[in-house]
Symmetry: C2
Subunit: 390 residues, 2 copies
């Protein structure tokens, strides 16, 4: 998209998607939701606006400052323009779909709006696409969601996919078991997030070796798990480690060549999760493509899922091939036109009789003209004359 | 959708679309935009929010009272949540696409929001899908748009499609040429809209026969055109009639069996149009499916287009066939699962080893179980046992 003066017509962080970008984005969303549906993830479509009380309930509260508010002239209650669809999915699972069998597999795709963008992501309207697996415990559920993300992104044509696993419960569990106070745990978590070994040592005291070891245990999953295994974790943290190992084992059993990494000290942005979390990256993609993990849904149901960031995904995908456009003279039979479209052509109907169809086709960005019952290439005819006109 | 107490969680006129409705709606939108694209109508995606000044400019002003307003904390200017996408399309055509060759063929699909619903349509969030043909005069352009609507709705599986043509410029042109004052023209137009022959006679005075004749000239297109032809219209109105006749001739030349009707006295809801307008209906559809017509776009460009009402369309379409769901035991090879999906199955992965896969499949609404390398039907095995458990 161009950042021209014309964009000043629109508020900062809001933009028009033009051809061919808008169609491509829609095609990516279709493909994603079709791939989700094929593995049983059924689509739901919550409204763009809800009552503030339900939109910002539970985990939704984190989005309060990012949410546009509107007064409802009918109920005189405050409504919010959704900034995140996941609280809506949790609401639907806990209410209208509370009697549907568990595990409940849901998918969603839609637009979210934010009061302000960030420096890194100035956009205030974002496309969000994702799935939730609700009411499912155990490593097979975590692995299903991770594998679904991997297979889906590969099917879209992304190459060099990496899934970075983390375990935001590990450090708090270990520190708590070792008798650290709440404020000390917080400082330790932050130092680990920064990978600041000296600060970690300072906060960890006599347990410095253990917590510094977590920084060293980051990297490709098999090696990282082995390094984690060598750490002398207290039982509560060892249990977390065991769960992570099981999830990795499930994932590798299904896709042995999956590129999984582990960063056991990562915590920032995953506070919401109470089990294995993950971030999605791909070679050549500037930004994170999405993230997910295990959490507790609305009514206390063990759940896992992921959200994809549509803008990052679109940037990372190869541009689609342009379809061939053919100009049809006025009065071309409907049957001939329909046949061309079935063959994959985009047909452009001329609205006037034109003396030079080749010139007209060129003007309308058509590569071909339908003449005498066949598609004639524009490029091959009188390029010189057209050039002088252009 | 159920109108249960749970819906009270949402503001009036806003609702959740659940499985399978949400997926079906998305599939209909995909199909529509694909059909539009095949005839050169390229998709654009304007933002959900814009500055009020641009959203409500020109023809957009009609939606002012239906539009939610928001203060932009960045620019401190008022923004509007779109209630109609067509002013956005006009804005884009006149600004960012002003140098694209004409005619410009654009399509759009998205959500619009209204401050209040109507008694007939209480929904406050609506799906809008449509096309615009911008910078094109002449009957071939009108016919292209009418035929695109007809072919698209037929391709979706709608039967008994009727396109009702009107000509909102005809009565004003005739009355003005015959020396009627502005207020008298307005009364006459309203009486004709109500098909109130006595009131028409009252307002039309010595021209009663002519204007009452317009009420009689409604019906199937060929017959209505013949009846119109017999009316003694002043030249300005006769010119409008000639244009209508040309559009009908173009449409019938392409699709001789098209079910076209004409209501030359219809005006209400078509004030915006300055040429042939049309409404789309289908057998069994409770409501109008969409409407369109000729208008002048943002910067004075002659244009025509149509909008479809997604909610009416969905109600009128036959429900899609449910895909077959098959339960895969934990540990099923990825290759076998992928093959089943390629064959059209929806695969549901079991997350635990289960003693009775048939019961589990039944519980998860799967018709089949993958056992011993083949799909075994649930229905055919031990229905009695399952019934006692249900």
């Amino acid at each position: 998209m161009q950042a021209s003066a014309e964009n000043a017509l629109l508020p900062t962080g809001l933009s028009d998607l033009l051809p061919p970008d808008a169609a491509f984005e829609a095609a990516v969303v279709d493909r994603l939701t079709a791939l989700f549906a094929a593995q049983g993830y059924e689509r739901i479509k919550p409204p763009l606006i809800e009552f503030e009380t339900s939109l910002l309930a539970g985990a939704g509260a984190a989005m309060a400052e990012h949410t546009f508010r509107l007064m409802d002239p009918i109920s005189h209650r405050m409504m919010g323009l959704r900034a995140d669809m996941t609280p809506q999915v949790a609401r639907i699972a806990a209410t209208r779909l509370k009697n549907s069998p568990r595990p409940l597999r849901l998918s969603y795709a839609g637009q979210v709006l934010r009061v302000k963008g960030t420096e890194l992501k100035p956009a205030r309207q974002l496309g969000q696409v994702g799935i939730e697996l609700i009411g499912a415990e155990g490593p097979a559920a975590d692995a299903e969601v991770i594998l679904l993300a991997a297979e889906t992104l590969s099917a879209l044509g992304l190459e060099g996919l990496t899934i970075d696993l983390n375990l935001p419960t590990l450090v708090p569990a270990a520190a708590q078991a070792l008798g650290f106070r709440k404020t000390a745990i917080k400082s330790l978590v932050q130092a680990l997030d920064r990978k600041d070994a000296a600060a970690v040592a300072g906060h960890a005291g006599r347990h410095a070796v253990l917590f510094q070891g977590l920084i060293g245990a980051a990297g490709p999953a098999r090696r990282a798990l082995a390094a984690l295994q060598r750490l002398d974790l207290p039982p509560e943290a060892a249990e977390e480690r065991r769960r992570l190992g099981e999830v990795v084992a499930h994932a590798f059993r299904a896709l042995p060549r999956l590129h999984l990494t582990i960063d056991p000290a990562e915590h920032r942005g995953f506070e919401y999760y109470n089990g294995v979390g993950f971030s999605l990256f791909a070679r050549g993609a500037r930004n994170e493509l999405g993230r997910g993990g295990r959490y507790v849904s609305g009514e206390g149901e063990p759940s896992t899922g992921f959200s994809l960031y549509l803008d990052s995904l679109i940037q990372a995908l190869p541009a689609p091939a342009a379809a061939r456009r053919i100009l049809l003279p006025l009065g071309t039979a409907r049957g001939a036109a329909a046949k061309l479209r079935r063959e994959g052509w985009i047909t452009i109907g001329a609205l006037h009789a034109t003396a030079d169809m080749m010139d007209e086709a060129h003007r309308l960005h058509c590569s071909h003209v339908w003449q005498g019952g066949r598609a004639r290439s524009v490029a091959k005819t009188s390029p010189r004359r057209r050039k002088t006109k252009a």
